[in-house]
């Protein structure tokens, strides 16, 4: 049995990962630690997990970790996992500053502890086919892409810049920017962004449009806004349009849904169906723990750094009103 320790339950994806782990017969969740003990104990109780009041004893028992803390505390848990020489899956974004990100990558490398990043949309139904189609040249050369990752206004620490590092742009840039990197097999050289906080009026950036220029000449826009209101039939979306010299690809992994109309609800709701990308991510992570070659779609710390560079350049562009170049680190 692979013994996994859950480190913090600040991020709502923690529940999804517990669900994914429990579907696997080779894995045991040995416990959860959270620097916020009340939150961690509540999570442990809700999910029937052992609560660990101390971090180090939990790490000493574990083969691997999953980190679901607030963004700004990722570094603490990554460094702790690295000190214990444990492989880890860290929630995105990797960090809130480049300095943290670099220290995290360095710690993992020095300890030879693999650092993977939770970018589950890579595992969404259909994305692997799209990637294959593009790389086989089925739509010719990729000229441009249009992406969205809309969502609700998230609760709690997401709205506290000290904990989250930023709002919608920090939270929702990584997924689709990452897909675009995989599609183009190229890095983002330049970012322009219009960013504002008018949508939810929560004193944090909640909306924006990023324009990305890739090293290979392709360009793209990304809308990571938290603009879904109460009454919208679903939480948000992930969409990606790829325009090539010989055709167009549209990717909308959350489109498969049933419409549910209830007498006691003010609006109809989408009920998604089909395979769950979070489960696929967890499977890929667990496989990587026992195999020498990780799943090709499993993102690592460097992928996380690249996505963070894009979000931070977007914030710089917001301040300067000009496009901002990215000096790639590492």
């Amino acid at each position: 049995m692979i013994r996994i320790a859950l480190l913090s339950s600040a991020h709502m994806h923690a529940s999804a990962y517990v669900h994914g782990l429990r579907a696997l017969s080779t894995v045991e969740i040995i416990g959860i630690f959270d620097h916020d003990a009340l939150r961690g104990q509540a999570f442990a109780k809700e999910h029937h997990l052992p609560w660990s009041p101390q971090l180090d004893p939990l790490l000493a028992q574990a083969n691997a970790t999953i980190i679901c803390s607030e963004n700004a505390r990722h570094r603490f848990y990554v460094e702790a996992s690295a000190s214990a020489k444990l492989p880890m899956l860290c929630e995105k974004p990797l960090a809130t500053t480049l300095d943290d990100a670099l220290h995290m990558l360095e710690a993992a490398q020095a300890a030879k502890a693999p650092l993977y990043l939770a970018l589950p949309v890579r595992f969404a139904p259909g994305f692997a086919q799209i990637l294959e189609a593009v790389h086989q040249g089925q739509v010719g050369r990729v000229l441009a892409m249009v992406g969205t990752n809309h969502g609700y206004l998230p609760p709690g620490w997401f709205l506290n810049v000290k904990e989250s590092g930023g709002g919608a742009i920090m939270d929702h840039t990584p997924h689709v920017a990452d897909l675009m990197r995989l599609i183009t097999r190229s890095e983002v050289d330049e970012v322009f962004a219009e960013i504002d906080s008018r949508a939810r009026q929560a004193n944090i950036d909640d909306s924006g449009i990023l324009t990305l220029e890739f090293h290979n000449g392709a360009f793209a826009t990304l809308d990571p806004s938290w603009t879904r209101t109460e009454g919208f039939p679903t939480w948000g979306d992930v969409t990606l349009e790829v325009v090539g010299t010989n055709g167009v690809i549209e990717f909308d992994p959350f489109r498969p849904h049933l419409n549910v109309y209830r007498a006691d609800a003010p609006t109809h709701r989408h009920l998604g169906f089909g395979e769950n990308m979070d489960d696929h991510l967890i499977q890929a992570y667990v496989s990587a723990l026992s195999q020498t070659a990780p799943h090709p779609l499993l993102a690592n710390g460097l992928d996380g750094l690249r996505a963070l560079e894009i979000a931070l350049a977007a914030y710089r562009s917001q301040a300067s009103h000009h496009s901002e170049r990215i000096q790639h680190l590492l």
Binding site: L143, A144, V146, T148, H150, E190, F192, E194, D196, R198, A199, R200, Q201, D206, S207, G208, I209, T211, E213, F219, A220, T221, D223, S225, T227, R228, T229, G231, F232, V243, T245, V248, H321, H322, S323
Partner: protein
């Protein structure tokens, strides 16, 4: 002015034909001639049973009241200016012009001659766009944060393949997306900053552009214009602090006729008795007849062009373009 407004249509291509049909459906207007400078489509004049001319100078000036300029954009200027100098009322297809210099000459000529001109920003007559503006301006969606628009389809095929030459058509940014530049400005007011990307001009019949606008209100708009898709369609979304409004023409077709011999080619149609073009032309004629304001003024068309050209400039240079507020020097003259 005779009891029916007499219209001379210049250009016999797609829009010249659409406008001509719209005039003939009105009780108080008639098409009295077609000027087809490129002798492109003799059928139109034959079908309408009106004379066809090679040039505006060939037409007796007393035989018409209104000039409809529907030649390719590159040739709008001489016809618009000549018609305004003759104090004719003018309907000019969009984009008004391909440069601000040309557009300014038109504005000045209209002012000097006290002649009226409206421009074919037909989107202002599409019912879904009209409803959207009304809802947004009612405040039902709260403060608008992010707007997204989509417009496009297959690369257009027309006379001499003029759309493929950006120097003649302006490409997606100036020919196609000007509809949405005009629309979002109509709904949200003045634009203060523009950033855009477009595919390389050398691409063969592929033209795809993305633009981001910032408004004085603080709103942000993202516009997509494409001649790289297969099927024409439009979409928009207004995301506000109190709600979201979405339109998707692909989901809103009241009629679909699929004929099996052609291998299942869908022919989407509107069920409305009067098309947006009919409404646009009827409004134009009505405004002339009763001396009412145009829904689309030349200032509107000028501002839309200013945004489109700023987007083009941004796409070419890679920098964002600040737009200063304009106060057209009109000397108090109402156009």
């Amino acid at each position: 002015m005779s009891s029916r407004i007499r219209v001379l249509v210049i250009g016999a291509g797609t829009m010249g034909t659409v406008h001509s049909r719209a005039y003939t459906r009105l009780e108080d207007a008639e098409v009295v001639g077609i000027v087809d400078p490129f002798d492109f489509n003799p059928r139109l004049a034959i079908d309408l049973n009106v004379p066809q001319y090679r040039d505006l100078d060939d037409v007796p000036g007393s035989s018409y009241d209104v000039v409809d300029v529907s030649v390719p954009s590159r040739w709008h200027l001489p016809y618009v200016v000549e018609a305004l100098r003759m104090k004719k009322s003018v309907f000019c297809e969009k984009p008004l012009a391909l440069s601000l210099t040309e557009a300014e000459e038109m504005v000045a000529t209209a002012m000097t001659n006290q002649a009226r001109i409206s421009v074919g920003h037909c989107v202002r007559f599409f019912p879904e766009y009209v409803e959207a503006r009304s809802l947004v301006q009612s405040g039902a969606l709260g403060d608008i944060a992010v707007v997204r628009t989509f417009r496009g389809g297959a690369f257009p095929t027309a006379w001499n393949d003029w759309y493929a030459n950006r120097n003649l058509s302006g490409g997606t940014l100036v020919d196609l997306m000007i509809h949405d530049f005009d629309f979002v400005r109509w709904v949200l007011g003045p634009v203060t900053r523009v950033y855009a990307k477009t595919t390389r001009r050398e691409m063969n019949r592929i033209d795809f552009s993305l633009a981001t606008l910032r408004f004085a209100s603080g709103a942000i708009a993202h516009l997509e214009g494409t001649w790289a898709h297969e099927h024409f369609g439009t979409r928009f979304e207004f995301a506000g602090s109190q709600g979201i409004l979405q339109h998707d023409s692909f989901q809103e077709k009241p009629i679909s006729i699929t004929r099996t011999p052609e291998g299942g080619v869908a022919l989407p149609q509107s069920g409305d008795l009067r098309s947006p073009y009919d409404l646009e032309i009827a409004h134009f004629i009505d405004a002339i007849r009763h001396d009412l304001p145009f829904r689309v003024t030349i200032e509107d068309a000028y501002e839309a062009l200013r945004i489109a050209l700023a987007a083009e400039s941004s796409a070419m240079t890679g920098v964002s373009i600040d737009l200063q507020p304009t106060t057209p020097a009109r000397g108090g003259v109402t156009l």
